[in-house]
Symmetry: C2
C-alpha cells in the first residue's frame, strides 16, 4: 500500500493532468452515439442518457425498432411522467423473430426510420434514441448508406442521436463520435435465471 505522502502526490498528479485535459476540451456538439456488443447495458444506458437529458429539460424522443409483447419499465415511466419532454414511438409491432413476416418487418422498420428522420430534423429535439435500430440495419431492413448519409448531412449540429443494438455496421461506427461495445463477462441466463423486472425490462 502507498504511504499517505505518496498517495497525496499521486492524486495531485491525477488532478493536474485532468484539469489540463478539461481546459483543452472546449468543443460542444451533438454526437452520434453507438452502443453495441453482445453484453447488457446498450439500451439501459441509452435510456439513462434520455433520463439525464430530461433532467436537464432537453426535449428528447425515442423510436423503438423492436418491440416484444412485454411493456417495458422505461416506456411506462417515460410516457407516464415525462410525455411533455419525451416523445415515445414504438413502430407498429416492430419486427422480431416473433413476426416471421419479412415484408411486415421491412415496413415496420421503414416506418420507424421515417419517424426517426422527422424527429431528428426538428432542432427543438435535442436527443433522439433509435433503440435497436442496429438489428434493422443488420437484417438489411434499412439501407445503411442512407442512414449514414442522413445522420451526416441532415442531423442538426447540436442534436445527439443514440443508436443501439448488437452488431453495429462498420459504416455506422466509422461516422460515429462515441462508440461503446458492451462485452459479456458473465450472464445469469447461462445459470438458468430468467429475465427479471428492473434488470432486463
Amino acid at each position: 500500500m502507498r504511504s499517505d505522502e505518496e498517495h497525496t502526490e499521486k492524486m495531485k498528479k491525477i488532478k493536474s493532468a485532468r484539469d489540463r485535459i478539461m481546459e483543452e476540451r472546449q468543443g460542444e456538439k451533438g454526437l452520434i452515439v453507438v452502443h453495441t456488443g453482445p453484453g447488457k447495458g446498450k439500451s439501459s444506458s441509452a435510456f439513462g442518457m434520455v433520463i439525464r437529458a430530461i433532467a436537464h429539460e432537453m426535449p428528447c424522443a425515442v423510436v423503438q425498432f423492436i418491440k416484444g409483447g412485454r411493456e417495458t419499465g422505461e416506456r411506462k415511466l417515460l410516457t407516464t411522467h415525462f410525455s411533455h419532454l419525451c416523445q415515445f414511438h414504438t413502430m407498429g409491432e416492430g419486427f422480431t423473430w416473433e413476426t416471421q413476416d419479412r415484408a411486415r418487418d421491412i415496413a415496420a422498420a421503414q416506418a420507424g426510420w421515417d419517424k426517426a428522420k422527422e424527429l431528428i430534423r426538428d432542432p427543438a429535439i435535442r436527443l433522439v434514441l433509435l433503440d435497436e435500430i442496429n438489428i434493422a440495419l443488420r437484417n438489411d431492413y434499412l439501407d445503411i448508406a442512407e442512414v449514414c448519409a442522413f445522420l451526416q448531412g441532415e442531423k442538426p449540429e447540436m442534436t445527439h442521436v443514440i443508436l443501439t443494438g448488437r452488431n453495429a455496421k462498420p459504416e455506422l461506427i466509422e461516422i460515429a463520435d462515441l462508440v461503446t461495445e458492451m462485452e459479456v463477462v458473465k450472464h445469469p441466463w447461462r445459470a438458468g435465471i430468467k429475465a427479471q423486472p428492473g434488470i432486463e425490462f
Copy 2:
C-alpha cells in the same frame, strides 16, 4: 440477401430456439451485477435499471461513492420525482482526485459502505446501486474481502445489488451473477469535445 422463404425458415428456427431457452429459465433471484471497463455506460445503464425498477414500483436506493462538484441529471430527476421510491445518498464530498486527502477519502468510502449495508439489509428495498464503489475498492479504501462476504452472506435473496466503476476486482467478478465490461471503441474527448449534459451527466 436471403430469399423470403429462407428468411422465414431462419426466423422460425430463432423463435423455436428462443422459446425453448425461455422455458428452461424459470429461476428468479436477486442478482449481484457489476458494470466495469473503461467505456461509457457503466453508471448510465445502472441508472437505467434503477428507472426500470421504479417503473415497476420496486423500492430502490443509490449510494454514490464519488461525487464531483456537478449536480448530475440522474440525481436531480430521482430526488425530484421519485423520492418516495428511491433513496439517494451521496457520501459527504465523496472521494476523488479533487480532495487529495486520504484519511478523508477513506472515511467517506467507509461511511458509504456502512449506509450501503443498512440499505441492502432492508428486504423492502429491491435494488441497491453502489455507484463507483469499484474505485473505492481499487484504492483499498474498502476491504474487498469484507464487501464480498457481506454480499454473499447478508444480501436478501431477492435483492439486486449493482456495483459500478472501472477496474472491478477479480474477487468481486468471481461472486457476481451478471458482469458487463464496457469497452471504448471511440470517444469524443479524444477529438477535443467536452463532457456534455445528457451525455456524461
